[in-house]
Amino acid sequence: MSETSHPQVVAGSPVLQAFARAPGAFYLLAIMGIALTIWTPGFFTAANLTNVALQVAVLTIVALGMTLVILTEGIDLSLGPVLGLCGVSAALLVSQGHPLPLAIGAALGIGVCFGLLNGTLVAVAGMPPFIVTLGAFGIAQSVATVLTGGDSVTNLPPFFRWFNDGVFLSLPVPIWATAAVFGATWLLLYRTKFGRYVFAIGGNRRALVLSGTRVQIYHVAVYAYAGLLAGVASFIMTARMNAAHPTIGVGIEFDAIAAVILGGTSFEKGRGGIAGTVVGALAVGVLRNGLNLLGVGTEWQVAIVGIVIISAVGLDSLRRLNA
């Protein structure tokens, strides 16, 4: 079909077409991969690449949930602090000797509850997602700080580290977790009614309402799912640090939005998908890793990610204008 719609851009080979349609993250990742391999001897090593993959696991899991929210023309700014709150809650419970299943249930439950709160205010009360989740951002961060008195929870039992350091069939647990979350999200998004409605809410919510569907339930569920994934990611994050800090999650929502947008998902009309988000998360991860290797401080990294997001969105709108 694109052979006729973009004859001047693409010769016709499916491979070339795929390249021409690939989201910005793909190019960013390729260019950075080559540049970093040439400039920094430490980049293309097994140890560093494994490190990048592990770093990216948390971001990818959060960004997958964020993708679904953005596909519905929404946004969830609270996912970072909610991740932090889930982490300290689980850490406090296990460090006080409570069983792990209780901690898991509590963390995932908190994530889902914040999602339900956000989703209800957005889908049922009709409030703007930006405002609602900004409020939830503040609530989650405050509760996490109050729970821990502002300190890190450090006296974790040794088994907790399994969530980051564990190895199963020669692959680290965070990689398995990311793969499992991707698989589950793919199934949900592309093979179930829920996923169909995620796209339809973004594409034409009114049409879905008029079709007689109980749209609000599905719309709330999107935020609940994103919250659930923030809870899942909090275990990897906490195990990685071997501590839970109340503000550790702040900023992850920023990188997650960057990953989603770089991955080709649009803020409008339900365009995009989760495969691009994985590439986007890798691009953000490699960017940050590269900046670390090049000795660029964290304080500048946020600005650079910000510039990359704006450039990616700018290029994308240019490309759509020309198409």
């Binding site: 079909m1 179930t192 796209f199 973004g202 008029l210 007689g212 339900g270």
Partner: protein
């Protein structure tokens, strides 16, 4: 013959007030299977309000609705759908980012059986969409394409076709060709006649009397929220309908020969 059968929908004494504006005042409307029924009238005649009441998008203040002879309550869109009353709204029907089968089955997705009941049956939906389109003689080469890339006529046809798919008895169309060119308009009306020939009742709003006279079987005229009259197309002329639209007065002949209608309907049922 349509004249001898009972109407499938009987709206009686419908009234609706928006604040100080009386949008509809004691309006009656009968809709028959196998007929295309046009609602005509100036702006603010109450046409849209009347179809929205029947489709459940607007709640009426007064009046009653009968469906197949039984009184029914239509409080929301799903009530109307449950009865088999489907509505195609202007420009509101499709999700641009989904393909044809996803749009046709939107809100009524088919799933696999048994343990995989939560998994969509995309293949079945595709097959059924394809046979639906061919039954209605709608030509869309690649139905896996997103509908964003399709022409206005194709999109309107898909929007109309999705109603037919779900055992609709009555299809309501709000200005189905308002945004279309000549050729596409012709195709959409061919589709509407095809649905009529397959036994559905069609109620549509149109501002184009030529289209109405070429395609419809019955015409109801409204003016400022009141019923002016109903005519079968072969019993009237564009002149008469135009006078009714402008003056708001039906000519001497009674708009609704109700006693006779009732009598013949009773005879038909016996």
């Amino acid at each position: 013959m349509p004249e001898t059968q009972n109407p499938i929908v009987e709206m009686r004494g419908i009234a609706k007030r928006y604040g100080g504006v009386q949008a509809l005042q004691h309006v009656d409307l009968d809709i028959y299977l196998g007929e295309i029924h046009a609602l005509v009238g100036d702006n603010a005649a109450g046409k849209s309000t009347l179809i929205k009441i029947l489709s459940g998008a607007v709640a009426k203040d007064e009046g009653s609705i009968g469906f197949e002879g039984r009184p029914v309550s239509i409080a929301q869109p799903r009530d109307a759908k449950h009865l088999g009353i489907e509505t195609v709204y202007q420009d509101l029907a499709l999700a641009d980012n989904l393909d044809v089968p996803a749009n046709v089955f939107l809100g009524r997705e088919m799933t696999r059986s048994g343990l995989l009941g939560f998994i969509l049956n995309n293949r079945e939906m595709e097959t059924r969409s394809r046979s639906l389109l061919s039954r209605l003689k709608i030509n869309i080469p690649d139905i896996r394409q997103r509908v964003r890339s399709m022409s206005g006529g194709q999109r309107q046809s898909i929007a109309i076709a999705r109603c037919v798919c779900f055992n609709a008895r009555v299809v309501i169309l709000d200005e189905p060709t308002a945004a279309l060119g000549v050729e596409e308009t012709r195709k959409v009306y061919a589709l509407v006649r095809e649905m009529r020939d397959q036994g559905l009742a069609v109620l549509l709003i149109s501002h184009n009397l030529n289209h109405v006279f070429e395609n419809c079987d019955r015409i109801t005229v409204l003016k400022t929220g009141r019923l002016v009259g109903s005519r079968r197309v072969e019993e009237t002329s564009q002149d008469e309908i135009l006078r009714m639209i402008v003056s708001g007065v039906a000519e001497e002949r009674s708009a609704r020969p109700r006693p006779a209608d009732r009598a013949s309907a009773g005879a038909g049922a016996a």
